[in-house]
Amino acid sequence: MKDLECQIVSNQMVCEDTYLLQACCDFESWKPGQFVMVRINDSFEPFLRRPLGILAYHESKLELLYKVVGDGTRCLSLKKPGEIIAVLGPLGNGFRIPAGDEQVTYVAGGAGLPPILALAEHIKKGTLIIGARTRSNMPLLTRIQSITGVETLIVTDDGSIGPKALAADILEEVIQDSHLPGIVYACGPPAMLKKTALISQAKGLACQVSLEERMACGFGVCTGCIVATKSGNQRVCREGPVFEAAQIRWS
């Protein structure tokens, strides 16, 4: 973990309300599923940093993909190339990379896309299921559809692209005929994660989910971000954000 002053290279809207930010950065190492805490302003407003998953990091360039949902992300979206943001990271545990030839399935919904894309671009195999509300909500389409070795299935709530379905429903079909051992990775809204976990479990597949919780520090000192697991409270920012789905006490 370092605190890096990163100069923005580009910060552009890639679809409705969603921005792709590229900044010069200097990590020693990183893993898909890790995240950063972004300090948006020098002034005390907004006071806390914002957690954002790492979409990609290569050649000293960090990529973040974020949705404008409130004041912090709005403020970030106004930053211009050349401006500086402070980035604390990489943080959290990251996904467990399959060692052998397990069948790999990814499920991403909403703002859960970045860590899953990072993972798929790293593993370079498997099936990637993405759920979005509608076509105008789907960022980086071409990039996603050209990930080496990965087959992409996109579903939307309104059928404007791909079938009209929920990502978790498609998952059921995809892993229908899957051979064990296999692993499912998921990131997205809680309801989707829970459903993904149950389906995977029923099929006897391993499942890792990346969780979101409100964070103050992002590095484990405030216990603001806990999740109830079978071994007690765990910090999403430190023991997570990636957890074995079987360990979570779903509410």
Partner: protein, 303 residues
């Protein structure tokens, strides 16, 4: 240039910059990013007799220039702390102040006597001001007479330096501080968070699962500064400030108001490296103002 601050003979800080309870855990995570030997003092998360799970999430919400937390004093419990955290913490050349709380009077006494014998513990910080738990915390700190008797008991149970941490929400904080001093405390930590809440106007629900929480960060600094000033006019034991400090300027301001040292809480969540920046800033300030001993400015506000 001498930045040493003497709170008591047992609690001597190499500089006035301390961590605050609850924003530094037990030091492990921070030890990976900064050199803990640089700090004036380390204050642990608030410990209780039994481990505590705290409140449900969400337990953090941002506010204008600050934040509200309703952690609810989640901690690993005193036994686990003594066994697995204190040995590590004790290895740094920085005094360890153990923050603790009870849900009844006996808890406070037992905790104090358990900590009394631990050589790696430089001082105790008694929390009677947490707004986030149903029993204990803030309720113990409201009534000066009750607080007098509680602090007296804890005083009997330990010879360690005893700090008592007050709530800003007192009709007369000076009265509370005087009780604490008379009961034999060695110092006063001033202040804990201010009770506060946040509401989501779309869902009609409180943002925090616990409904209410405690406000901290730069937003409350002007209030903490007032409290330190008010208390310092009425007691002669040392004061340790907490509340919104974010820069060496804030540290100097708190010291002028009467604090001997300053705990940095919420701001360290935003900027974990701020401890170093602040300590460097103090050095520069001393140079620029030709100050030989930093301790000399304590309470030197010109009025």
């Amino acid at each position: 240039m001498d930045t040493t601050i003497r709170i008591t003979d047992e609690l001597v800080l190499k500089n006035p910059v301390m961590s605050a309870s609850g924003t530094f855990a037990y030091g492990e995570e921070f030890s990976e990013v900064i050199d803990l030997s640089l700090l004036g003092g380390i204050v642990t998360k608030g410990l209780s007799l039994e481990p505590s799970k705290g409140n449900p999430v969400p337990r953090i919400v941002e506010t204008p220039c600050g934040m509200i937390n309703s952690i609810g004093l989640e901690n690993i419990g005193i036994e686990a702390f003594l066994k697995s955290k204190l040995p590590l913490l004790g290895q740094w050349k920085t005094p360890v102040v153990v923050n603790f709380y009870g849900t009844n009077e006996d808890d406070y006494e037992i905790l104090a006597s358990m900590l009394d014998s631990k050589k790696d513990v430089a001082a105790l910080e008694m929390n009677v001001s947490c707004p986030n738990i149903k029993k204990g915390g803030i309720h113990f700190g409201k009534d000066p007479d009750y607080l007098y008797s509680l602090v007296s008991k804890v005083r009997q149970a330990t010879n360690k330096t005893l700090l008592v941490k007050l709530s800003p929400l007192a009709s007369d904080i000076a009265e509370v501080a005087i009780s604490v001093q008379e009961a034999g405390a060695d110092g006063i930590t001033c202040v804990n968070t201010i009770p506060a809440m946040a509401i989501d106007e779309n869902t009609w629900m409180p943002v925090l699962a616990n409904i209410t929480g405690g406000l901290s960060g730069p937003a409350i600094k002007p209030v903490a500064l007032y409290m330190v000033w008010e208390v310092s006019k009425h007691v002669h034991i040392p004061i340790i400030a907490a509340g919104g400090a974010a820069s060496y300027r804030d540290v100097i301001q708190f010291m002028l108001a009467g604090a001997s040292a300053v705990e940095i809480g919420s701001y360290a969540l935003r900027d974990p490296f701020c401890f170093t920046t602040i300590i460097e800033g103090l050095d520069k300030y001393m140079q620029e103002n030709a100050l030989d001993r930093l301790e000399d400015i304590v309470g030197k506000l010109k009025t």
